[in-house]
Amino acid sequence: MNILKLLDKLSNDKFFTTEATRLETLTNISEFGKKAAVASIPLGLGTLVSTPAKAETTTTVNTTFFKSVLTDALQLALVLEYLENEYYAMGLAAGTLIPSADRVVFMQISKHESAHVTFLKNTLTSLGVTPGAKPTFDFTAGGNFTPFTDYNQFLILAQAFEDTGVRAYKGQAGNVMSNKAVLQAALQIHSVEARHASQVRRMRANKGWIELADGGNMPSATNPVYAGEGNINQAGFNTSTAFGAAAGSAAYDEILTGSDAQAIASLFIV
């Protein structure tokens, strides 16, 4: 499957409808319709549309459907890990690009990204799905970046990839929660990406966390990575009340939908 198609399918607002049409039986469609409706209800409105008794029906799980959602989410994660893994491998291979004092950091990050690729491939295989092939990457994004000759640019893209990774995994949480083992592993990868992001950000003299929608001394081309990070409303709770909007937004990382991830990842995929 083409990565753009996959990413597009995973976009929150679109995959529900495309998945639903793929399912052929009326039962499946109606079951899914209920789930989709529940999932899209803003917090606090749940019981207005669904009584507890009726909610019972939504616990029926269509395994075929969930397998597809689950493994598609893993395929998306695999693409992002392919990207990160190749990026750091190329950076480390690029002669004197990375100062010796910083190499230990990027060797550690590289080791993890490589492990994530292997782990996700094995997980997909164990779920009976063939892992997607590695796309062809262009880290210059069509000549707009020179990350392997300019260390500052290398750091900028590393920060963008790590902050994107954190958001993208978070965005797929709902799609993998049907399989508890996979959910836990995804969470375990997700927090590693966050540790990486914090480190790279601090190497760029930023805070380890994202205040408002400001990436921190980043080129405007990376704005999509930070769009929405300024959110100060969590389930109706105003996170800015106590210490202001910067702290309130930084206390929570936001999700990226599949379509958001598409806009970012497609810049680097030939």
Binding site: A39, I41, P42, L43, G44, G46, T47, S50, P52, A53, A55, E56, T59, A101, V104, V105, I109, K111, H112, A115, H116, T118, F119, V166, Y169, K170, A173, G174, M177, L183, Q184, A185, L187, Q188, H190, S191, V192, A194, R195, H196, A197, S198, Q199, R202, K207, G208, W209, Q234, A235, G236, F237, T239, A242, F243, A247, A250, A251, Y252, D253, I255
Partner: protein, 236 residues
């Protein structure tokens, strides 16, 4: 902790689909919950006679669990910022102030969220730091590292017990910030090394630690004076 287990019966009389009630009642559903709970005066009798709070069942239990951990982190950093250790740098001062802000916000969020979904809200806990010297940089950083790594492992291990997608996403929004904290603290302790995501917390598959609630409570228990239980998870 040396607590005794107590079963929370709160919600048991709501009806047989209590799980679904919890599952579907969003954070803002206080009214529905209170109305139902109010129907039965006997439900909270145990709380009057029993000083040991049970975190509860289902998603509420997980939320209370997270609330306990965020209370601990918030309390710790409140003490840190009210008594910065000698010789603290401006960068470290800013960092600890940020961590204090974030953890207080997390704590207050959980209090509001759980209050909106149930009356079974964990009370304000009391903490103790018998082995922490707040005047000493190494002691404060080591404790912060332990708390942040514990927070990450706790959320990573508890995610699978959450049934409501909205709660799971919010837990995800918080855990990555805890991981960012952990990384920063670890780098302060061992700058320019692999410690920010060291092999002591990340395994050969590139996976961060995930710990079961009972192991977390055992770890964090030394800081917690107020007893609580989580019968559902076998914690006492």
């Amino acid at each position: 902790m040396k607590n005794t287990i107590h079963v929370s019966n709160q919600g048991a009389t709501l009806d047989t689909s209590r799980r679904n009630f919890l599952k579907l009642s969003g954070i803002g559903l206080a009214m529905a919950g209170l109305t139902l709970i109010g129907c039965d005066d006997n439900e909270f009798d145990y709380m009057a006679n029993d000083k040991v709070f049970d975190l509860g069942t289902g998603d509420v239990g997980v939320l209370n669990y997270a609330y306990a951990l965020e209370q601990l982190e918030a309390d710790f950093y409140t003490k840190v910022v009210n008594n910065f250790y000698t010789g603290i740098s401006s960068i470290e001062k800013e960092l600890f102030t940020d961590l204090y802000h974030h953890e207080v916000i997390h704590r207050d969020f959980f209090k509001a969220a759980i209050s909106g979904a149930t009356m079974n809200v964990l009370p304000k806990l009391e903490f103790q730091y018998p082995n922490v010297n707040f005047n000493d940089r190494n002691s404060v950083l080591a404790t912060a590292k332990a708390l942040e790594d514990t927070g990450v492992a706790a959320y990573n291990g508890a995610g699978k017990y959450i049934s409501n997608t909205d709660y799971l996403v919010i837990a995800g929004k918080i855990v990555s910030v805890e991981a960012r904290h952990a990384s920063a603290i670890r780098n302060l302790i061992n700058p320019g090394t692999a410690a920010f995501s060291g092999d002591d917390v990340i395994d050969g598959n590139g996976l961060d630690l995930a710990k079961e609630p009972k192991d977390i409570v055992m770890t964090a228990g030394g800081f917690i004076k107020t007893p609580f239980t989580w019968k559902e998870q076998g914690i006492n």
